[in-house]
Every structure is written in C-alpha cells, then in structure tokens.
Amino acid sequence: MTELGQALVFGVLAGSVYGLMATGLTLTFGVMKIVNMAQGALLIFSAYLCYTLWARFGIDPLLGGFIVTVPLAVLGVVLYKLVIQRVQRIDQGLTIVATFALALIAEAAIALAWGPNPAAATPRYFNQAFRIGSLTVPRAQFYTCLLAVGVTLALQAILKRTWLGHAITAAAENPEGARLVGVEPARVGAWIFAIATASTAFGGAAISFLYQFTPDSQDVWIGLTLSVIVLGGLGSVPGAFAAGLLLGVAEAITSTYISVRWAAAVPTLPILVALLIRPQGLLARATRQDTGT
C-alpha cells in the first residue's frame, strides 16, 4: 500500500510541475489557436538562466524564476511581433512549422552559449525530504508543487479578474465583438505571448533543480507539454493543471508497476489516443459545430 501511496505522491508532485510547464502552451493555443512548438526550448532556456543565476550569483532557483520572467516576457513579445504575426499573415498552416524552426534555433543557441554538458542546480534542499507517516515527500518537488499551484492560481486570477484577462477572454471567443468595444486582437496577442512566456520561466526554474538537462532536452519537454494540453483541453488553464496531475500519476504508476522504460512512453501516448478520439481535448467543453442559420 505504501508503494502505491508513494507512487501517488511522486505522481502528484511531478504532475503539478508538468501542468506548470504547459501553461504557456495552453494560453497561446487556447486564445490564438497557435501551437508553440518552441515551448520546450523556452523551458530549457529559462532553466539555463536560472541555473546560471544560481551558479554565478548564488540566487536560489525558485527566486531566479521570478527574475527570469522579465527577459522571457520580452522575448515573447519579440517573437510575436517578428515571427508569429508575420507567418500568420502569410500562411496560417505554416505557423507550427515556424515555431518548430524557432525551437531548433533556440536549442542551438542554448548549446552554443552554455555547451552541451548536462547541468543541474543543486540548492540546499534539492535532495532533502520530509517524511509523512511512511511516505517520503521530497522537498524540492514539494516546493515546485506549491509554485505550480501558485502560478496556476495567479494566471486564473489574471484571466478572470483583470481588464486584460477579460479582454483576452473576449478576444479569444469573439474577435469582432471584442473590436466593437475597443479591444484590438493584435495587441491582445502580444500580451498573451508575454504572459505565456513569462509563466514558462517558472517551469524552467523547476526544471533547473528537479532534473538534469541539456540543450536537447527541449525535445522531451515539448512532447510532454503537448500531451498535457491535448489531454486537458487545448486552452483551459485549470484543465492543463489537472491533465498534468493525471499524467504525472500515470507515469509514476507505470514506472512503479510496469517498467521505467515504458514510463517514457506515457507522456506521448495520450496525444495519439486523445487526438484520434476527441481532438478538442478530453476536458474541454464540447464545441458546437453550428454557426446559426
């Protein structure tokens, strides 16, 4: 029984971080229908930045995450204006290829800047753990779980309670109606990218001390985050969080009871199953096909 309990603990903790990593992707897809294949690269970039802040200046990676949101947000706006807006005008179907190209460029740039050797930050708590009854709760994962919950709640608050959030929701659902009240979808797009990439900074911070990473880790993380948003409803932030939890638990249980090697397949399998059966996401509301008379 403790084995199951332990698997659940690991699963939930890891899963919350998966959800955190996917929030940026969820936002850009949910609002703008853009799949940002560079999400993995952005995560790794943030991870490297946090690692450098920790290695050079001794700044705790969790704090580093907050600092890194700024350059990431700027990067998001730049990407939106220089690349996304342009390719959307040329050929919408190629947007995903463009972001895919960005991912590879980013991976290369990261490798050139930091080298190919694995990196991992090791703050004080990275291998400490609490004990609750017979269960071990690793400290580092616990903190990132808190971070994940916090960021998810903060994003929800922004979306539901601020003018910007309302404007984003409005423009996503009804671009023409939004224009009638003075909300310009293009400006909203820049904000969405800024928020999405800023939230990615926190995911990267988590990676920096939870996992070992190299520049090409971005490939693994994009697969995983795609899985999360596909499961959770391409566009629902709480849905993505729940999906992350689900994936984390599934992975932990597979690892414990089947084999560690097959656990690697767990993240990608849902994409295939979900997209074949219910493309709009398992937790998304059923989309209506009608558009009036």
Binding site: A108, A111, G223, T268
Partner: protein
C-alpha cells in the same frame, strides 16, 4: 515549347552524370554524400505528395525511414533475408503505417494532424528503444555484412537509391499530372467541397500517404544495409524529419522537382558543415543553420525556390495577363460530349416524379430549432423555389439535404432512396449537387480543371489518367462557351469576377449530371445580364430532367423560373404555390414584414 526541351535535356544530362559518377570516380566520400542526398530527395518527394499536393503537413516522416530500416534490419539480422526482399518488406511496413495515418485524417486535420505526426515519431522511437529484444534497443542493431564482393564498393547501394529516386520522381510526376493529383490539390484547397463533388477523399489521401510512406520506407531499407548498423536515435530522428520538410519547402512544395532541388541544396550543405566545422559546437551550429534556414524559408520564401524562380521568369515573358487561348486537345478525338441529354422531364405537365423529398426534417442546436419539421418535394425537370426571411433556416435545410449537417430527425429521400445515412461523396454519387452563396472553387486548379473534377464513380485506373482528358476538355470548353467564359478556360479562378465564379460553380454541378441540384442564392450580387445567363443555365438543367431547388430573394427571378415556390419561416414551411400565389399570401407577407407589436403607447421620440 523550347523550355520543355531544355528541361528534359538538363534532366537527362544530370541523370547521366549521376549514373556515371561511380563509374569514373573511386571517391567513396562523394558517393556517400550523393547517396544521402538521394535519400533525402526521396523522403522530401514523398513528403511532398502528402504535404505539398494534399496539404497535410507531417513532422514525422523520418518514421518511415526508421520503419523501413528496422524492418529490413530485423529481417536481415534474425532471418537472414536477402536485401532486396528486406527492402521491399521495409517499404511494405512503412506503407501500412502510412495507410493507418491516412485513416487518422478522417477526424484529425490541420494543426492537430501535425501534432499527431510529431507524437507518433516520438512514440515509435520509444517503442523501438524499449523493444530491445527485437530491435537491439539503445545498443543498436547490426546487420549481416553483404555477401557480394567488396569490389563492387558502393554500387549495390548507389544505383538502387538512384533508381528509387528516379522512380519516386516519376511517380510523383504521374500523380501530379493525373486525376489523383487533381483530387489531392482540391483536397488541400477545400476538402469538404471536394467530398461534396463526389470525390472519395479518404481514398485519395490513402493513396497519397501510402506512396509517400512506401518509397521512403524502401529508401530506409537500403540505408540500413548501407550503414550496416542501426540505432534508434539516428533513424527515428526529429532533425531528419525537419530536413525532409526543409528540403521540400525550400525547393518548392507542390512541384515535382522542388523537393529534389531542395535535397540537393540541403544535404551537401549539411555535409559541408559537418566536415568543415569541428569541435563541440559543430552540432549546434548546424542546428542553428538549418533551423534558421527553415524559419527563413517559412517567413520569406514560403513558396520555395522553384516556384519563385519560374514565377519570376513567367512574369518577365508575358507582360500583363490576357486570357490565354485554349491549348489544343491532347489526343486526337472528335469533340463529342461524353454524356447525352438525360431522359426528359416534363416541364409543363402536371405529373412529374419527385426526385427529392424532405420529410419532417428537424435540426436542433441545443434548444434552438433551426429547422423545425420541414417538408418539401422537388420534381424532376422542374425548378422549385425556396424563399424566406433572414434566419428562417434555409441554409440549414440545404446543409441537411446535402449532408454537411446531421439531421436531428426526419428523412431525406433522393430518387426513392433514403440518403440520410450516406456521406457526402455518396450523396453526390447518388446524384445530388449543390452550389454555395459565396461560390467555392479550387484556387490551385484552372477553370477547366475545376469543372471536370466532380466524380460520380471512383475507379483506380481513372486516378492515373490525365487530369483533363481530351474528351473532358472538349465538353468543358463547350460548357464554358455557352456561358461566355471560354477565354478563361486555363486561368485561375482568382481571376474571375464574383458572377463568373458563380457560373463556373454551376458548370461544376452540371458536370455531375445530377438528379437534383440545390442552388443557394445564385443570382445574389451579380449583374442582371449575368443573372439572365444563369437563369438560362438553370432552365437547361431542368429541361434535361434535373430537379432544381433554388433559394432566392429575388421574386421576379424566381417567378420566371419556378413552377412552385415554398416559403420558410422559423424553421417551418408556411406556404407553397406559384410565385404569384405565395407573394399574395398574408402569412408570407407577415413573415417578411415581421410581427405586429402592440403599438398603443409607442410614439417615436420628439
């Protein structure tokens, strides 16, 4: 036509040169670069059939290489199978995987499809690594060494790859030249419209995908023998997939030679960078280069090198576009229309069979009933009108009849057959056709191609015939001539005016020789002269026995054409009769002018 001769000469020379290289030179290094180039060209050409012709972009085509390579490798290593059989088996497995992928497109399209291909590649990589008992896992798989003499050097790999490339390009050209290609381009432009015209899009896509997968798979098999050692990371590799996409996009997707050109640019470049760059950063610089190139192509050269160059040359030759004279028909043959007039309907008689009946059709969207129990009948050889105010459900009714939307309840009967359960292509095959308020034509096709594309019947042999046969061309041009559009035969629909596009859409419908035609506001937004031409076309349709159901707002137009008019309001049919009867009907006037509102206390503001 000298440009054609020049092209052929260049291609023949290049082929001769490539075939001759191993004969004159012993440099194994250059041969290996060329072999990798051939492989990339095969992969890119295959990708092009899926992504360039049919519009389905895949990020996972290196999976076909991997499947081909591993199938061949496993058969060789475990069963000692001969290389030739092994490669073909590799192609078969990859082809089957491609067929499965095409089935996926039934529900998963666009961006979702791209994600699926990405995930499938990842998953196959994981599976290959995990099934280490069979595949050797991360340790890799060693193939038995070739049994032939070392004196042959690379020839047993070089020539098969070159031959496979020639075959792939030839097939790609045949596809593009033929009806399969025509259908694929139409699917890329407007898949739903294509199925509404009777194209069995699932079959077309499967053909395209299987061709792509099989050739790429065979190439993978040959590759496996060449390198004699396989590891998962090398073949199920996202970067290889990316290079395939890059080669096709850079060269020009949708063309025959574009992907080959792209491969011949990319692969040598890749090789050059890996040899001239040294050090730990080499891999990163290459990735930067190719990622950057892919991004640059997408942003700045989305059509690719070949179309841009040929477009530039073409514009320099012909100053301003003038409708080109129709080119002479391909093969000799009298210009005889392929179909004679159908059995006449009886436009003036009182008794005519109903070819289309809608019984109690209901469509509910949540609580809203867009169509609330509609009954109507269309007689053969007669024009029937359908009018009603905005929001009365006319377009939804059309969508129910043609199958775009599933009915909540009720029946549609076409020539005595219930078609409620049939898909759109099947309904077209049964004789149903439809036009749209805003005409939908295929932008990548010429006007003539647009007209000849509808199909009443699928046959595999037909897929490989010319896009437009001589007889078809003659018939189409005759139709265009009747409409006064003959000079536009070989132009793109984008050059036509709105009204002209409507006429072409109508010609498309006539091509199907339909039993019933649904016309959605054909006269809207066009000049009176064009409207007259349209009316004539509709009359001739009816005279040939077709039943026509026409939605229009212009009552005089309807009155000239229709023997019977239905009036729809709030999802129901509220009146029917001749145009005169209906326009005098109180209920109809009410429906148009709106409900009476108690006006006792309502006074306009001062």
């Amino acid at each position: 036509m000298t440009s054609n001769l020049v092209r052929r000469a260049v291609i023949t020379l290049a082929l001769a040169a490539l075939a001759g290289i191993p004969l004159v030179s012993d440099d194994l290094y250059y041969q290996s670069v060329l072999m990798l180039t051939f492989m990339l060209a095969i992969g890119a050409s295959g990708w092009n059939i899926m992504g360039g012709y049919a519009g389905y972009i895949s990020l996972g085509n290196s999976a076909f290489i991997g499947l081909g390579a591993y199938t061949t490798g496993i058969l060789a290593a475990k069963q000692g199978v001969s290389p030739f059989v092994g490669c073909l088996a590799g192609g078969l497995v990859a082809g089957l995987a491609a067929a499965f992928l095409s089935l996926v497109t039934r529900r998963t399209r666009g961006v979702y499809f791209v994600i699926v291909t990405f995930a499938a590649l990842e998953l196959l990589g994981v599976a290959a690594t995990t099934w280490s008992g069979v595949t050797g896992g991360s340790q890799g798989l060693a193939l038995p060494l070739p049994t032939w003499s070392m004196a042959y050097q690379n020839w047993p790999f070089y020539y098969p790859l070159l031959g496979l490339l020639v075959l792939t390009v030839a097939v790609s050209a045949a596809v593009r030249r033929g009806k399969l290609g025509l259908g694929l381009f139409a699917i890329a432009d407007d898949e739903d419209k294509a199925s509404g015209l009777g194209l069995r899009t699932a079959v077309y896509k499967m053909n395209a995908f299987v061709l792509a997968g099989t050739f790429t798979g065979i190439a993978g098999g040959i590759y496996a023998y060449y390198v004699a050692f396989l590891n998962v990371a090398a073949v199920f590799d996202i970067v290889t997939s990316m290079l395939i996409v890059l080669a096709a996009l850079l060269g020009g997707r949708g063309t025959v030679w574009g992907p080959v050109l792209g491969a011949f640019i990319i692969e040598p470049l890749a090789n050059l960078t890996s040899t001239s760059l040294g050090g730990a950063d080499a891999g990163a610089i290459r990735l930067l280069l190719f990622g950057g190139l892919l991004g640059a192509v997408v942003l700045f050269l989305p059509r690719g090198v070949l179309p841009t160059v040929t477009g530039y040359c073409r514009r320099r030759q012909a100053p301003r576009r003038v409708p080109t004279r129709p080119a002479p028909a391909g093969a000799a043959g009298a210009a005889v229309p392929a179909h004679g007039p159908r059995q006449d309907g009886d436009p003036h008689g009182d008794v005519a069979d109903d070819v289309l009946e809608a019984c109690g059709l209901v469509k509910a969207f949540g609580g809203l009933r867009a169509v609330d129990g509609a009954d109507l009948a269309v007689a053969a050889g007669r024009v029937t009108g359908l009018i009603g105010p905005n929001g009365s459900g006319k377009t939804t009714l059309f969508n129910l009849i043609d199958g775009t939307v599933r009915a909540t309840s009720g029946q549609v009967v076409l020539a005595g057959q219930r078609i409620g359960r049939l898909g759109r292509p099947a309904r077209a095959h049964a004789g149903l056709a439809r036009t749209y308020q805003l005409p939908r034509l295929f932008g990548s096709l010429t006007v003539v191609e647009n007209i000849v594309i509808p199909e009443r019947r699928l046959s595999f042999a037909r897929l490989w015939r010319h896009r437009v046969t001589a007889a078809e061309r003659a018939r189409a041009i005759a139709m265009l001539a009747e409409l006064g559009l003959a000079p536009y035969a070989d132009t793109s629909p984008a050059e036509l005016s709105f009204g002209q596009r409507k006429l072409v859409e109508l010609a498309q419908v006539r091509w199907l020789d339909p039993v019933v035609v649904l016309l959605d506001e054909p006269a809207a937004g066009i000049s009176p002269a064009l409207a007259e031409r349209l009316a004539d076309t509709i009359r001739s349709l009816a005279q040939r026995g077709t039943g026509v159901l026409l939605v229009e707002h212009d009552l005089p137009f309807l009155a000239r054409l229709c023997q019977r008019v239905y009036v729809m309001a709030n999802g129901k049919i509220i009146a029917s009769g001749t145009a005169a009867q209906v326009s005098a009907d109180r209920a109809v006037v009410d429906a148009y002018l709106g409900d009476e509102v108690a006006l006792a206390s309502a006074e306009p503001a001062p």
